[in-house]
């Protein structure tokens, strides 16, 4: 029995470790490729470890994608902050100020989470042109804020729904109004919700390709994922530069994930509506 048990425990760990290797393999490949000097980079020895550590691949890729990396910061940070703020207000209303039809309205909001963006791209581009936002970073921020409304409202609504109504009622008796309750009762305890939403929006917006591609036609204003894709198209043979560029583009979200994984996990569950 104990032998059989040890055997099955071993098998479980074997499968887990094999899958861990599978999930890490692409990162391993990006890292070792970026650390090779140019004369070592050969597709026939793709899996060989680098001799010494060189940053040739990374520095050449960085030259190519640095302006777009900055664009992505300029887009992602304001868009995540603004949409988190809007979401906190909307979530507060949907959770604590129920009116007739507010649950139905909320469901109609949620539909937006599942919309394939292709379904609205044509009128979106026309509208952005009419508003003078087409082709600009502000335009990209605007679009991300609009399409962040459903998910941010959902996340904050779930969080605020867990705050007892008695607390809100007590604040009302003490003379707090609509804004007072938000400012003095809910905002001070909403840090975890803000963390989840900011991380979710940061990851989603940073990783976006389609909106950046369609809204910004000038490659110099494009976000980093558009630049990485262009790099992959233009420098077809210099695959180590592509790989290094890809790793640079992936780094901010990977760092956020490793540093704040707990909040990221909560976002995952909320994103499936099962939070």
């Amino acid at each position: 029995m104990t032998f059989q048990r040890a055997w099955s425990r071993g098998a479980i760990y074997f499968v887990l470790i094999a899958f861990a290797a599978w999930y890490l393999m692409p990162i391993y490949l990006m890292l070792i490729t970026g650390m090779k000097t140019f004369d070592q980079v050969n597709i026939a020895t793709m899996w060989a470890l680098p001799r010494g550590i060189s940053l040739d691949g990374f520095s050449q890729a960085w030259v190519k994608v640095a302006p777009n990396f900055k664009n992505s910061i300029m887009i992602t940070v304001p868009a995540a902050v603004i949409s988190a703020f809007i979401g906190s207000i909307n979530g507060y209303i949907f959770a604590k100020w129920k009116f007739r039809g507010s649950n139905t309205l909320f469901m109609l909001f949620l539909v937006g989470m599942f919309l394939p963006y292709q379904g609205i791209l044509i009128p979106l581009v026309q509208t952005l042109m009419a508003l003078g936002l087409y082709g600009s970073i502000v335009g990209v921020i605007f679009v991300h804020c609009i399409f962040g409304i459903p998910i941010t409202a959902l996340m904050f609504r779930s969080y605020f729904a867990g705050i007892p109504n008695e607390l809100v009622d007590a604040a009302k008796i003490d003379g707090c109004g609509f804004f007072g309750i938000y400012r003095w009762i809910l905002l001070p305890i909403a840090f975890p919700a803000f963390a989840v939403v900011l991380i979710w929006q940061f990851t989603t917006i940073w990783n976006d390709y389609l909106i950046g591609l369609v809204v910004v036609s000038n490659p110099r204003l494009a976000p980093v994922n558009v630049a990485v894709q262009n790099l992959a198209g233009t420098y077809y043979t210099q695959w180590q530069v592509q790989m290094s560029g890809a790793l640079i583009a992936a780094l901010p979200t990977i760092i956020v994930y490793l540093a704040l994984g707990k909040f990221f996990m909560r976002g995952l569950l909320a994103g499936s509506l099962k939070g």
Binding site: I12, Y13, L16, F19, W22, Y23, P26, L29, A44, M46, W47, I86, I89, I93, W97, F99, N103, M107, L108, L110, V111, F114, L115, P116, Q118, G119, I120, L121, I122, P123, L124, A153, I173, G177, F178, T203, N207, Y209, L210, V214, N225, V226, V228, Q229, A232, M243, G245, A246, A249, A250, I254, V256, Y257, G261, F264, M265, L268, L269, L273, K274
Partner: protein, 302 residues
């Protein structure tokens, strides 16, 4: 001293005023959702039934002509076939791997948090990055094939995404790498919600591990599986980034609806044709999202 008698009424009035204020504050978001989601969807359907063949808008009504042309279009038909294969491959991998890893992690594993972190991290990586790396991992003369040669597993070598028939399934390997950890997280949360008493009761009744999973755990996790099917189905309908990197393949063997729509609309300026594909994508998404949201509403009203 009439104040105590009046106070509740005044509070009630104040409350009603605050409720009105809440609705006013919510209004800009309602307007934004109404325009950017619902009106835009309707507008896309409208564009699909007008002429608009070039950049210049032409709102001459042509009925279902664009739709009929599209359904006879070879590339569109290949896209629909690719969608079916992609959805099957992507769903199967995500659900099987996700469930397997979640069940294993639920066995009181040492360093569970580390495994969980590794399994989920690809979800923090963009589709473009995933595509770039997997293009080289599945490059026929390099990557995985080279690795298989090194360890003597040559029979595992494949043409991957360059295969003219099954290339689209290779694309799902890259997408499942990215998304299966998410599905695992959903299953793990589900497994943690099953009470220990239930598992112990089954064990006392003499159920073996297989029966426990077959009769108790898998049925109890059916809602999670439903969620996973909806999410991976949505992912299949809107997949864009990975085909954008890997290319459409020989004879569109790795093409996707979303990519076809993008090229028609923004590279060939065929607005109405692009709008037909966009409308098809919305209808397909509706088949998944409708039942899903309905099931959530049921849960909430219970």
């Amino acid at each position: 001293m009439a104040a105590p008698a009046n106070a509740p009424r005044r509070r009630a009035l104040r409350f009603r005023g605050d409720l009105a204020l809440a609705i006013v504050v919510l209004t800009p978001s309602i307007v934004a959702v109404a325009i950017f989601i619902y009106f835009f969807i309707a507008y896309t359907f409208y564009v699909s039934v007008v002429k608009w063949p070039t950049l210049l808008p032409d709102y001459t009504f042509v009925g279902l002509k664009n739709w009929i042309n599209m359904f006879q279009d070879m590339r569109f038909r290949i896209d629909m076939r690719n969608l079916v294969l992609y959805a099957l491959g992507f769903m199967t991998q995500c659900i099987v791997i996700g469930f397997l890893l979640a069940s294993l992690l639920d066995q009181k594993i040492k360093s569970e948090a580390l495994f969980r972190t590794i399994f989920i991290f690809p979800f923090a990586v963009s589709g473009i990055v995933t595509g770039v790396v997997w293009r080289w991992l599945m490059y026929p003369s390099a990557g995985l094939n080279q690795l298989f040669s090194l360890v003597g597993l040559d029979f595992l070598k494949s043409k991957w995404y360059t295969d003219p028939t099954w290339g689209i399934l290779a694309v799902t390997i890259a997408s499942a790498w990215q998304f299966s950890g998410y599905v695992m997280a959903l299953y793990l949360a589900g497994l943690r919600g099953i009470s220990h008493e239930l598992k112990e009761a089954a064990a006392i009744d003499g159920a073996n591990t297989w029966q426990l999973y077959r009769r108790i755990i898998i049925p109890l996790l059916a809602p999670v599986t439903f969620t996973a099917v909806v999410l991976t189905g949505m992912g299949s309908i809107r997949v864009f980034d990975i085909p954008a990197v890997l290319g459409t393949g020989a004879a569109f063997s790795t093409d996707a609806l979303a990519f076809h729509m993008f090229q028609l609309t923004f590279q060939s300026n065929k607005m109405s044709s692009g709008a037909v594909i966009a409308s098809v994508m919305i209808i397909l998404a509706g088949f998944l999202v409708g039942p899903y949201l309905a099931s959530l509403q049921l849960e909430e009203s219970q």
